[in-house]
Each structure stands twice: as C-alpha cells, then as structure tokens.
Symmetry: C2
Subunit: 377 residues, 2 copies
C-alpha cells in the first residue's frame, strides 16, 4: 500500500473535523471561545459565564446566568455509592485515578447519547461540570485524613471548590485566581483528550464514557499532567539564584524543560500571558515571590536560548502553589476546568456524527505459514 | 483557513500511523494478526495462543504457552476494593458501566507508561486480560442474584469465563465456541476504541487509563454495542417465517439492519464467515436452529437487495444465545476479546510515540465584541 504510506505522525496538522467551539491561532498566539477573545473572557467573566457560553453558544444574560449557576450549585451532591467508592479508595488512589473511577461510577444504566434530547444531554453535562470538583475535593480531604466539607450553595463554582478543598472560604482574590485558571483551561479545540471524547461519542456511546475517556487521556504528562511536573521543577530549584544553573544543566543534556513549547502555539501562549499576571499578583499578595522570580528567569533563558515560550502549565503551577493546592491535584484541577469544553464537543460531535475510525499503514508481514504448536521453536 | 478545509469526516481513509499488528484487507475480505491468516488462527489456536502472538509477535512454543496460560490464570483474583465496588453497584449499573468503573478502580497509584519497562507493561496487560472476564462474570452473577463462582485454575481462559458466568463447567464444544469468538474479536487495527487507546498512551498516561478509554468507546452501538442490537432484532423476529416481512419493513423505511456493513470491509467480513460455521454447529447441537435460519434469510436478502454483507456482530449474537449468555453482556464479551489487541497497541504506540493531536477546521465566528453582562439580551 505504498500510496497510503505518507501520513502525519500524531496526526500533526491533520484536520479531523469542523468545529465552531474554539479557534487557536498558533501563529499569532490568539485564542477564542465561541468567537470571543480569551483576554476579554478572562478579564470579565466567571467560569459559570464561560461554561454557559461554551454550552449554549452565547454569553448569558444576568437571568440566564443566575439560573445556570443555580443548576450547577444544585448538582453538587454525589450519590452515596460514589461517596463510598471515594471513601474506600482515596488512600490508595491518586486524585486522577479516583476522579476517573468516581466519574465512571456516576453512571447507572444511562442511555446512549442517541436516546437523549439535546436538553437531556446538556443536563447531564451540567451535572458532571458540577460534580467533578466535588469528587476532587472529597478525594483530597479523605486522602489527607480530613473531614469532608459540604458544598456551600452561596459560593460560586471556583470559590466553592476552594472552600470544599481547604475548609475555609477563600478570599475574593483567591476565588478570582481559581476562576481565571478554570476559564483558561476550559477549552482548546481538538486537543488529545477532547478528540478522544469526540471519538467516544462518535460510536454513540454515552456521556459518562466520554468523560471517563477524557480524564484518562488528560492524565498523561504530555497533556494535563504537565503543571504538576512544572511544580516539581520549581520545588527542586527552590530559589531564584539556582535557576540559571538548574536550567543550564537540563539544556546541556538536551533534556526537556517542562512548561515550554506547544504543538500549536509557535509564539507566546495567550493563556500563559494572562496567568503570568495572575501569578504575579497572587505571589505578591502572599509575600512569596520566589517561584515567580524563578519563572521569570527561566522564561528569559528559554526564549533567548531556544526561542521557546511558556505554555499555560508554566504559570498554573505558581497559581496553584499560592492557592495552597497540593501538587498531586494539579492535573485534576485542569480536568475540572476542561469539563465545559468537553460537553460542548460532545454536543457538537453528536449533532453531526460520523464514526471516527482512521486507518493504519501496515508495515508488518503477511501470509505467514501457520506452524502447529508441536513444531514451533 | 481555506487551505485546510478539505478533510475526511470521521477520518475515513486517513492513515494515522504505522502498525505491525493487524492487516485488514477490506477489498478482499482478508484479516491477519501479526501476519497470520485469521482462518488459521481460529481453526488451530486457543485465545491464549492468539493473545501471546499479539503481545510477543510470535506464536508460542508449548512451554511458552504453558507459562503464559499460568500467568493469566494466576491473575484472575480481583482486589477486595474492586469486588466491593462490583457488589455495591451491580444492581444499578449495566455490565459495560461496571466493567469500565471496576477496570478504572484496579489502578492504585500506578506509574505512567514511561516509568515502566516493556516487561512491566506487558505484565499489567496480562493482568488486565485475565481480570476483565472475572469482572464481567461477577457483575453478571451479582446482578442476577446468584452466588459468585471462584475461578478454576484448571480451566483455560474461555472455559473459565463460561464457568464463572454460569456456575457449571462448559462442554468442550461450548468452550471452543467461546474461544473462537474471543479470537475473532481480539484485534482489528485502528478501530475507534483501539485508536482512542493509542491516543491515551500518546499523552504518556497509564495502561489502566488506556483500558478505561477503550471500554467507554467500545460501548457505543456503532462499535462493540452492535451484537446486542442484532440479538434484540433476532428476538423480535422470533421465527424464520417472519424474517422477510420484518426486514422488508425496515428497508421500506430506509432503516438500518444491524450487523451489516462495515467501514473497512467491502465484501464478506472473514470473521463473520468463520462465526457462521460456529453458529451453525452450536445451533444444531442445541437443537434450536431458529435464529440461525433467520440469519441465513436476512443475509440473503441484504446481499440481494443492498449488496451488503454481515459483519462479525451478526453471527456473534447467535453464538452467545446458544452459550446461554444473557443479552446485556454481549458488548462486555466483545471487550474481553479485544483486550489483547489493546495491549499490543499500547506497547506499539509507546514504542514509537508522538502525541496524537489533530486540528479542527474552525467554522465559527472570530473577534466578537465582548458585551458586559448588564447589556446582554
């Protein structure tokens, strides 16, 4: 099959479908959700507003937002069997493992996507957007030996998550930083997890399966797992004075510096630019600018030496540190943000579906003579 | 981005990577695992032999097979927390939901693929190939209100599954039919679930995540869920005398007859040809040829009227019926067979990895003016 043997490894640059959800302009470093510039959304919106935009293709009015926020808030209760699973497994599972298992366990004889109305699909999506943060908070509290904190209906999505995680209400500034981080992670076109979510739906499987897929794919260090690795690097560097020699050490061995470079962005990741500001602000508020200073140094070195720019994971790590979030839930926080993007893609894929099933270029043998087991060696 | 706007919907005909595992020649209706014709493997091998071939790229000697079979048999024990999950959720979950949740729950702080040796990766793969049938059997017994049956170390993979499911040792003929069905479902190149498994690994996520993805994708009616729909159709038709009018009724409304047609095969699916023989044999042995006769009638009609051929799901449904397998586990049985193919693809993807991340063709709006919430309508 010589004519088929040319292909793009990792489907790099291959267009896999139409979409109206997100535009990533990697050359110019621009990002749009439903046509709106990410800078506008991050500066002006709550996560609830952005989730609404992704799901309903318009920014909500005050009334629509209030209704939507209430729906999210009402869906923060987990079924007792899922709480049981979290209680019994949290000491032995990582946060992403538990999030994947508990999300899968939320499904009980749910209909396939094709048996649901658009409204029903969105309702399940909203329920999942609301419940995943609760799973992460419960898993964290249990694995840390802490009492569970019930959701607070007076708090918004981001603030409630911090409250359930830490047991105290966050300051406005903290809640805003969390909100902004969720917004910046909400959506990013056909990234690996979202594309796999769409494949799941393309077989007409159900929404919980699609989410479980998304979580398993996002977990990888080349995808959602990167912020955690950035945090580990910052922790090892420790002080701004050590940054130069640490990075030099990696570059001399042609190693990879985490948080730099991106398949699509060939310039500054606009999300990193926004989070840079948030990281600076919160570092100053907390009177601990060491990581931020380290980051500035690394950023300069990487740009001068390799012409590489930081991606969203790079500054996320600093924001999470100053929100007091433990390192092992970094990837799960990314997942919480990405849920609304997944719901948008589930609906879009189902709305104009065709089974996603590529071919491989077979490079193995053919027509081998079968040898009975007695004669094999 | 006009230059990128031409693409193949569902990645139809698009080559997504090299592979040495499986050749599907859809034009000629030929199928090879690791270069061996499916007819040879189905006629001469046990599932264990075929799984070994897929994993180790060679047919095993007697000694290698004995060792491999023992390894599978020793891995049939589930951790107590997973048994607890199956016990508490089986009444409210479908078999595929429970299989997905319990498979996810098997993982407890497992390393990502990149932190494992090839040997460790295969060992986890073997453990999963061994454990998934146990999960399905336990889920089925519990949801049917039956006592759990412990695995029998003297039975092979297929026979043990039937034993744990039904509580009595199967006849040789029954075990052979189950074996053959597992072999025919073991592998099929870059099908939707396998491709999504490879995407999961491409982010360097872990093997349990990859399996959980595979299960969620396979669950869809356009993929593994089809045999179940064929069984429901056969059940509705009931007697060979009703077949003509039933199928005519569907075709007049331009409806879809389940179990016919395939993205890749443009002629007879070689797996369906083999299972046709198995279905005939077992129907005669059980003195109940109604479904088989219905199938023959439908096959003739579909070929004459639409030039469509049965796929593997079509005859699977009949085999499962005569093995006394309840309809709701049909998709899970497909999954059990496919596990060895997934392990082969996990290893192959990791061995020459590149993140799988396509692009979309953005057809939405750009640079919309942001409107503050007070002014929206």
């Amino acid at each position: 099959m010589a004519e088929e043997s040319e292909f793009k490894k990792g489907l790099e640059g291959v267009v896999a479908g139409d979409s109206k959800i997100c535009l990533v302009n990697g050359q110019e470093g621009k990002l749009y959700y439903r046509g709106y510039r990410i800078e506008d959304l991050a500066a002006n919106c709550s996560y609830e507003e952005v989730a609404y935009l992704l799901l309903y293709e318009k920014l909500p009015t005050k009334k629509e937002l209030a209704k939507f926020s209430k729906q999210l808030s009402k869906n923060r209760k987990l079924p007792s069997n899922v709480i049981k699973i979290i209680k019994s497994g949290s000491k032995t599972s990582s946060s992403m493992e538990m999030l994947r298992t508990a999300t899968s366990a939320l499904a009980s004889k749910v209909p396939e996507v094709s048996e649901l109305s658009q409204e029903d699909r969105v309702a399940i999506g909203i329920s999942l957007i609301a419940k995943l943060p609760v799973i992460v908070a419960y898993q964290h509290r249990i694995s840390s030996g802490l009492e569970l904190v019930k959701p607070s209906s007076k708090l918004g999505h981001a603030a409630n998550f911090l409250y359930m995680l830490r047991g105290v209400e966050p300051s406005d500034s903290e809640a805003r930083a969390m909100d902004m981080d969720f917004i910046l992670h909400a959506e990013h076109s056909f990234n690996a997890s979202t594309f796999a979510v769409r494949i799941t739906v393309s077989t007409l499987s159900d929404i919980y399966s699609a989410f479980t897929t998304g979580l398993g794919v996002l977990k990888g260090p080349l995808h959602g797992g990167a912020a955690q690795e950035v945090a580990m690097m910052m922790d090892q560097i420790g002080s701004p004075a050590n940054a130069d020699s640490y990075i030099n050490g990696i570059l001399e061995k042609h190693g990879k510096v985490m948080g730099f470079g991106h398949r699509i962005y060939k310039t500054y990741d606009p999300r990193a630019r926004i989070l840079n500001g948030t990281a600076k602000r919160i570092s100053e508020e907390k009177h601990d600018t060491a990581w931020y200073e380290i980051a500035q140094k690394i950023e300069r070195m990487m740009q001068q030496r390799l012409n590489l720019y930081p991606n969203v994971d790079f500054y996320s790590a600093i924001v999470y540190k100053h929100l007091g979030l433990s390192l092992d839930i970094n990837t799960a926080i990314f997942a919480i943000g990405r849920t609304s993007g997944w719901v948008a893609h589930i609906n879009e894929q189902y709305g104009d579906n065709r089974l996603i099933r590529p071919l491989d270029n077979y490079v193995g043998q053919v027509d081998l003579a079968f040898v009975p087991i007695e004669k094999r060696r």
